[in-house]
Amino acid sequence: MSTNVAEAAEAVVPEVSKGERFRSYDVDAFEVPGGREEDWRFTPMRRLRGLHDGSAEPSGSATVEVIGEASVETVDRTDSRLGEAGIPGDRIAAQAYSAFETATVVSVPAETKLEGPVTVTVTGPGTDQVAYGHIQVRAERFAEATVVLDHRGSGIYADNVEIVAGDGAKLSVVVVTDWADDAVHVSAQHTKLGRDATLRHTLVALGGDLVRVSPTVQFSQPGADAELDGLYFADAHQHFEHRLFVDHAVPNCRSNVVYKGALQGVDAHTVWIGDVLIRAAAEGTETFELNRNLVLTQGARADSVPNLEIETGEIVSAGHASATGRFDDEQLFYLQARGIPEDQARRLVVRGFFHELLMKIDVPEVRERLESAIEAELEAVGA
């Protein structure tokens, strides 16, 4: 972007190291957040509909349907595998953990490569209904698979998603939040990667009133690789928040974060927090994070906060970039100077903005759905 309306300055090193963050399964171990806390300062607390203060009693349930070759189990909270990828790090995640009834475990056996994607469709509990959920996706050692977590429907829903990739596994998880306009969804997504495992986590945020997703990546063994991509398109009054935490605790792992968002309409609000911690033991780390936002109309706001915390100098590379801008007038001028009408030129620029991420989505149906969603968004404002 040639014009930066809000450019995040130097990476802020948080006062309290993210590595020391408090974690617990017990909801009462967390204070009820008021909205001023670092973790909550961007979130419109009233629109959480009580998920954060215990007042959102479960009143319905979300349905979980799985299509694909993976093995699917519905288990209760005594299953010893649950919690393997991570422990809740905030009150809503702990609330969801305390309140879910059954968990869905989707697993790909060791040394198995699934040809097609596995699709897990989560349908919300319905308007004004509250539900809590738990999903675990497991790729055992050397398994290869793509899993789509597709969220649709209405309601108020909080969950923990666990992603476990065993040694040498190659797992792609595509999370689509295509909720109805009223939906509120708060999701903690914990990832644990084994030795030489490869994870691609792609978040596609399209719908909902308030959607807050916190992906956490924990490297437990050396040699793993995490690619975290995100695409979001927020309309008037929508709040889409993405809080990433990549914890490099072991040597020779790689992480790459690319999140891109477009915003349009009054009070469209997006938040991107990119916390990367390179612990003293994590020599040979290679990490980069990028967030770009394209503000299409007045009255929309994108917050972007990269945090890079480095405890060892023995790394390959570490960097971040963040930029938020309006349409690049020079690009529009160039396209129009070739006879392309303004609305079409704008569409080309927005599509171009998302292009590199769209091309990386390895599930054609999801990619096409996203492309047409972007088209529809642009038609809607007459951009």
């Binding site: 690009q331 001028f333 160039y334 396209l335 129009q336 100077a337 070739r338 009408p341 080309l348």
Partner: protein, 257 residues
């Protein structure tokens, strides 16, 4: 037979210190099958003139007129001007990430021609045009101008000129930054456009070397935001000898390479 007529054109930009006039009454008439060289030192307003004709939003026309066959160009949007038959090969072509050259060219051709070119013909047309300009076919799948060298960008500007086939081409320092081979290839491209017939050219340049490849019918010296002298090709020879010193009082401004 078409006419592009620029009359007493005054153009200003908004700066932090207020409005600043950059063009102070430009007069110039170009007809089909004429090639006009506009020569002037850096900062004399050559790009400002080309941007104002193309309709860049930063440049405000404060008075005067630009007409194409009597139609008011200044009333048209940027894309309408292009569809009316004006083409600007930019001094600094813009990068458009994520939009492939092939998609861009086809979208532009569709807009300018009023209908999508038949795919089979189009593929052949683009291939031939790229071949004539020594452009590697792999460029078709790259993002518009992204990571192109200066010379590659200029070749692609001429590629667009060839495919969009406008009535008038304004070439803003298309020769700058080109090595000898690229200058020849690009000049040949411009000469093909010229020989097609019915086309007028405004060839903006700082140096005389491109005029050895593309022979102008008229030469205009541009200085201080307006045309200060007009003549035939012999005026270029004079500039080659003497530089712009007579117009700027600055001995350092040579017109030769």
């Amino acid at each position: 037979m078409s006419t592009l007529e620029i009359k007493d054109l005054h153009v200003a930009v908004n700066t932090d210190e207020g409005q600043k006039e950059l063009l102070h009454g430009v007069n110039l008439t170009i007809k089909s099958d004429e090639t006009h060289a506009i020569m002037g030192p850096n900062g004399s307003g050559k790009s400002t003139l080309s941007y104002a004709i193309a309709g860049h939003p930063k440049y405000e026309v404060t008075s005067g007129s630009v007409t194409l066959d009597g139609e008011d160009v200044l009333e048209m949007s940027v894309d309408e001007r292009a569809r009316a038959g004006l083409f600007l090969a930019m001094q600094y072509p813009v990068e458009v990430p994520g939009v492939s050259m092939s998609n861009f060219l086809r979208t532009a051709a569709t807009a300018v021609r009023g209908e999508a070119p038949k795919l089979r013909h189009w593929v052949k047309e683009v291939k031939e045009s790229m071949g004539a300009l020594d452009i590697d076919p792999a460029f078709a799948e790259r993002s518009v101008n992204e990571g192109f060298s200066g010379g590659e960008k200029k070749r692609h500007e001429i590629l667009q000129l060839d495919l969009l086939n406008p009535k008038f081409a304004i070439l803003d320092e298309t020769d700058s930054g080109l090595d000898v081979d690229a200058l020849r290839v690009v000049s040949e491209g411009v000469n093909r456009y010229r020989e097609d017939g019915g086309h007028g050219i405004m060839l903006i340049t700082h140096y005389t070397r491109i005029l050895k490849h593309i022979k102008p019918d008229f030469v205009h010296v541009f200085a201080g935001g307006k045309v200060v002298e007009s003549g035939g090709p012999e005026l270029a020879d004079k500039l080659e000898e003497e530089g712009y010193v007579a117009y700027t009082g600055n001995k350092k401004e040579a017109a030769t390479v």
